[in-house]
């Protein structure tokens, strides 16, 4: 096997209808984010991605995939499985937003309150999390990410190519505008 000096990591799992997608289906630019709800860097990127989608509403869509680094973030898997439980009820993005807006409240007690605020039955979701009902889905996202070259959180792929730049709004705007005009 050859040893390239540097390879550009590329997304290997294409976006499907199984994914959680925000933005127009025919967007010229697709951002796939691999994120961890307990990761402060993901939390810092969250408002920037939000603003990016607002400023480029016609050209950009965001796909969110789970990448909990459980050994560092003890609440990350639980948060991801809760988001997925909300997702099967059509409330993924509401739960996603709550989680990133309350990163200091991911312990089980506060998380239940969050589920309630999103308008979902906490006991029902809690039971699914306890039974690991959605663990396979989270795992599938994680493994696909690691095979695609996710090297930490957040990792973004812009039209399939890993974004190795920053997560400030200007960096993101530059990256998506370049991809849109490519």
């Amino acid at each position: 096997m050859s040893t390239p000096l540097q390879v550009t990591a590329r997304l290997r799992d294409p976006v499907t209808t199984e994914d959680h997608i925000r933005g127009p289906a025919d967007a010229a630019v697709t951002i796939v984010e691999y994120g961890d709800f307990q990761c402060p860097f993901c939390g810092a990127a969250y408002p920037n991605l939000h603003e990016l989608l607002r400023q480029r509403a016609d050209t950009v869509r965001l796909v969110y995939r789970y990448f909990p680094i459980a050994n560092v973030h003890p609440y990350a898997e639980r948060a991801a499985e809760t988001a997925e439980a909300a997702g099967v009820r059509g409330r993924f993005w509401e739960m996603h937003d709550w989680l990133y807006e309350h990163q200091d409240q991911l312990d089980p007690v506060h998380l239940s309150l969050g589920v309630e605020q999103v308008g979902l039955p906490p006991d029902e979701l809690n039971a699914e999390v306890e039974n690991r009902t959605h663990a396979d889905r989270v795992r599938r996202d994680f493994v696909g990410g690691i095979r695609s070259g996710v090297n930490g959180t957040p990792t973004l792929f812009v039209n399939g190519v890993r974004h190795d730049g920053g997560y400030d709004l200007p960096d993101l705007l530059t990256a998506v505008d370049a991809a849109a005009n490519a």
Binding site: M1, T3, C39, P68, N71, V72, V143, G149, N151, G152
Partner: protein, 166 residues
Amino acid sequence: MSDPNGLIQPGRIAPGFTLPATPDGALVGPEQFRGRPVVLAFYPADWSPVCGDQMSLYQSAAPVFAQYQAVVLGVSVDSIWSHRAFAESKGIEFPLLSDFEPKGEVARRYGAYLPQRGEAARALVVLDPAGTVTWSYLSPPDVNPGADGIFDALDQLAADRKVMAG
């Protein structure tokens, strides 16, 4: 001296060694894992300032490594005490080897030492179950290479073994 030929290349027999490792300072080296693929992950230092640092990432991918029965060994010039504290804080359960005295000697033998920095390079070396290098990769020190290249190498190993067995 660092190996003037650079990072060890596929086809070479991996130099044998043992180094003190987490959790208890016992001597650990690749020859103890013959019959399984071994991933040597040389890295500059414990305590990098990001969430998804390379060793934490490999720990979180432990179930995937297990599917290949692969052993992961992290190697840096940090002391065993630093390794222990780092492993505890990041929940790292695979061995972190201390290439501390003589400093960087194992990294040098693999062509994975940066004398100007006094640290191991960020280099990945995959050994086949017989201890031959099957893939190696040198990353810029500040770029976490992720694990995609490692798993591609492990896939290739598994495919080669199937051909041999067939």
